[in-house]
Amino acid sequence: MQMSIETQTREASPVSTDPVLTLDGITKTFPGVKALDQVSLELYPGQVTALVGENGAGKSTIVKTLTGIYQPDEGTIRVAGEDVQFTTAQDASAAGITAIHQETVLFDELTVAENIFIGHAPKGRFGMIDWAEMRRRAREILDRIDADLDPDMPLRDLGIASKHLVAIARALSVDARVVIMDEPTAALSHKEIEELYELVERLKAEGRAILFISHKFDEIFRIADRFTVFRDGKHVGAGLISEISEADLVRLMVGRDVDQIFPDREHTPSDEVLQVVGYSHPTEFDSIGFTLRKGEILGFYGLVGAGRSEVMQSLFGITKPSKGVVKIDGDIKVIRSPADAVDNGIVYVPEDRGKQGAVIGLPIFQNITLPSLSQTSRAGFLRMSEEFALAREYTERLDLRAASLDQDVGNLSGGNQQKVVIAKWLATKPKVIILDEPTKGIDIGSKAAVHAFMAELAAQGLAVIMVSSEIPEVMGMSDRVIVMREGLIAAELEGDNLTPETLVRHAAGIGEGDQ
């Protein structure tokens, strides 16, 4: 059966102009956000289509729609000209669509062969798994992609690149017509990336349609045949790669209508409060150096995995740097734990609100007073009235929307949880506040409130570091931007140098030839 489909797909020559998969007018709304707005996408057999867009443009939503995880509110999905509806992941898989994710969704405790055939293992008599047949076919598929892997090896013993190979083998085992690759090279080394490109060529030659999601322009121009650009959940362009320049693609991706209003700010930074020199980590980042002044908002831009959060978490005492110096108000400080960081006036609002930010299960006021208990208590004994007073002061400043201050913080919306986390830190009267993706996944209203509040904090003389992957936010809020790439500072941009294009170029390493 496998062979017959293979010959069938081979019939579709790479020059065929009929798309194998067509999305039309797809709209998907989440509470407060229109993630996809009437988008279309066409994938052609034997061709690689690059899907380009900023974070939040709707790329992951479309992948989830294609793989049956999300159901669109409107629009049609056609596979080989027939209307289909994916209500489960199995439906999408049955239609020949498979995805290889950034972080592979495989099973560490199972073997290579088991991972390849999970869900569709060859069955023998009495419905038992035919292990010999499974190994044989796994071997066959692995050979086809030149993967030198033992089918009986447990997956956990493999590196990330080999895991990708297993994911690809899995895609071949279901004989996928459409292969989605979501930033497949993000975690790979140079050599492994080359091997992946070869594989993509092979998949193309077999007539499979490939949707390739990447932030790296060099690889888009190297392996893609077509492109589709999403911006803010809308389809803004598509065409042949051979007919567009890098610069035009960048412009298409970031150019936007002024649909978000950022607070007007006077940039009047004064004394230097934080100085970081030669800050390094064995694997995550190297030679990071920057200064931060009172009243300044310093943006940190970069692709996912560039090492921005790792630097910030290290400054906050979560991970240990291998070398480097941190000076606060000119004095060298050694920060070994978050408690040390808080004592020295550095606070951190993490990206992962639910796991690292809010203590779900505790009421709002207890979340806020957590690092300030010494302030609200007397000789170690709690004083609830003081706690409520402190919580009230800061929740009102942040315009929190909640039923009561003793409500479980877990019952709040993402935006309001974020306000609670920010309120918690402001109550400690910090010198430096680090906000990691402060508006990720929160509604427009809360976003504006968080932005306005950041501006207010800077105006009051607080030094703010904002890690953000959203270009409008970086542009709209920062006085100065540090762009990181692969654990290093790629550029420091300010004034006229700070444009969406320069941000993207430095983050992706375009035109520097050192990639």
Partner: protein
């Protein structure tokens, strides 16, 4: 946002404290305790007697002392299953000291220090080495009691000083035993520590989300280490009371108590997953368990059946709070 007229007023609380208490697990449990009390008084004519009731408290006082510290430990998301073995170890240490003529003061000191040391040992393995407490304390459970068996074999230590008997057999006033008074004082202390201090607040915070607690500047490992120390210390205190009450030490002393202590804590409404629970709940649960075992004892129910009962109770109390939470929601 700086516009005051636009700022909504958020009330401190929607529900009064009284309403909250009335709907709590503790009140339900108190009802159960009263029912058992009444049932017992009908079941046996010997039950409603001041001295009998006083005797009944010995069924739970020593276990409850450990349960207070264990409650804090479980709320923080950890557990110590070696507590009964710590009793054996501490009792053996005291017995050995008594053989060479140690006085009451020295014996108490030895009991407490042994408990603290054992707790510190657990604490180091869990907090410094990052091992899961359930595995660590199953291991130390065998280790501590194993040491007792090696030292004592089939034998027993006797010959404790006469005034050492006060801790387990003495009365402070009329029917109020020293143990019961100590239990009451410890209940108050643990209530204050858990519900009225910054330390207690950090215990809840860690139990709900240890990562966010650490990201909020709480020294999570330090707090957990202190809780293991406290639990070891309470096992030491219980060892003093129990050894004094029995007047002898065998390596099988307090065998299986860890389950009864955990049952008491969970019955008291402490979530086995950590993050919630209260000392009043544990106090009431102590009375419930004491009354049940005493009632069954008066009815001549054999010990084997009682242990079946304890097992059923442990399963029941883990299931019941979930049903209770569903019913409330």
């Amino acid at each position: 946002m700086t516009d005051a007229s636009n700022t909504r007023h958020i009330p401190d609380r929607l529900q009064s404290n009284a309403a909250r208490i009335l709907k709590s697990w503790e009140v339900l449990l108190l009802g159960v305790a009263i029912l058992i009390f009444v049932a017992n008084s009908f079941a046996s004519p010997y039950f409603l007697n001041a001295w009998n009731l006083s005797d009944a408290t010995f069924n739970f006082t020593e276990k409850a002392m450990i349960a207070f510290a264990m409650a804090l430990l479980i709320i923080s998301g950890e557990i110590d299953l070696s507590v009964a073995a710590i009793i054996a170890l501490a009792s053996t240490a005291m017995g050995a000291a008594a053989q060479v003529g140690a006085g009451t003061f020295e014996l108490v000191l030895i009991g407490l220090v042994t408990g603290l040391t054992a707790g510190a040992f657990n604490g180091v393995l869990v907090t410094l080495m990052g091992l899961p407490s359930i595995v660590v304390t199953i291991g130390t459970m065998s280790l501590f009691r194993g040491i007792s068996y090696i030292i004592l074999g089939d034998g027993a230590y006797r010959g404790y000083p006469a005034d050492f008997a006060f801790f387990g057999q003495g009365y402070v006033w009329w029917v109020l035993s020293f143990e019961f008074v100590l239990f009451a004082v410890l209940a108050v202390i643990y209530y204050v520590v858990l519900h009225r201090t910054n330390f207690g607040r950090t215990v809840y915070t860690i139990g709900n989300n240890a990562t966010a607690a650490s990201f909020s500047g709480i020294r999570v490992a330090r707090v957990k280490f202190i809780l293991f120390l406290l639990t070891g210390l309470m096992a030491g205190v219980a060892a003093i009371c129990l050894t004094s009450r029995l007047g002898s030490t065998r390596p099988s002393i307090a065998f299986g108590w860890e389950l009864e202590v955990v049952t008491m804590v969970v019955l008291g409404g402490v979530s086995i997953l950590g993050g919630s629970g209260s000392i009043p709940g544990v106090v009431i649960a102590a009375f419930v368990m004491g009354l049940v075992t005493f009632g069954l004892g008066l009815l001549n129910v054999p010990g084997i059946v009682m242990s079946i009962f304890i097992g059923l109770m442990l399963i029941g109390v883990i299931a019941l709070p979930r049903l209770w939470a569903k019913w409330r929601a």
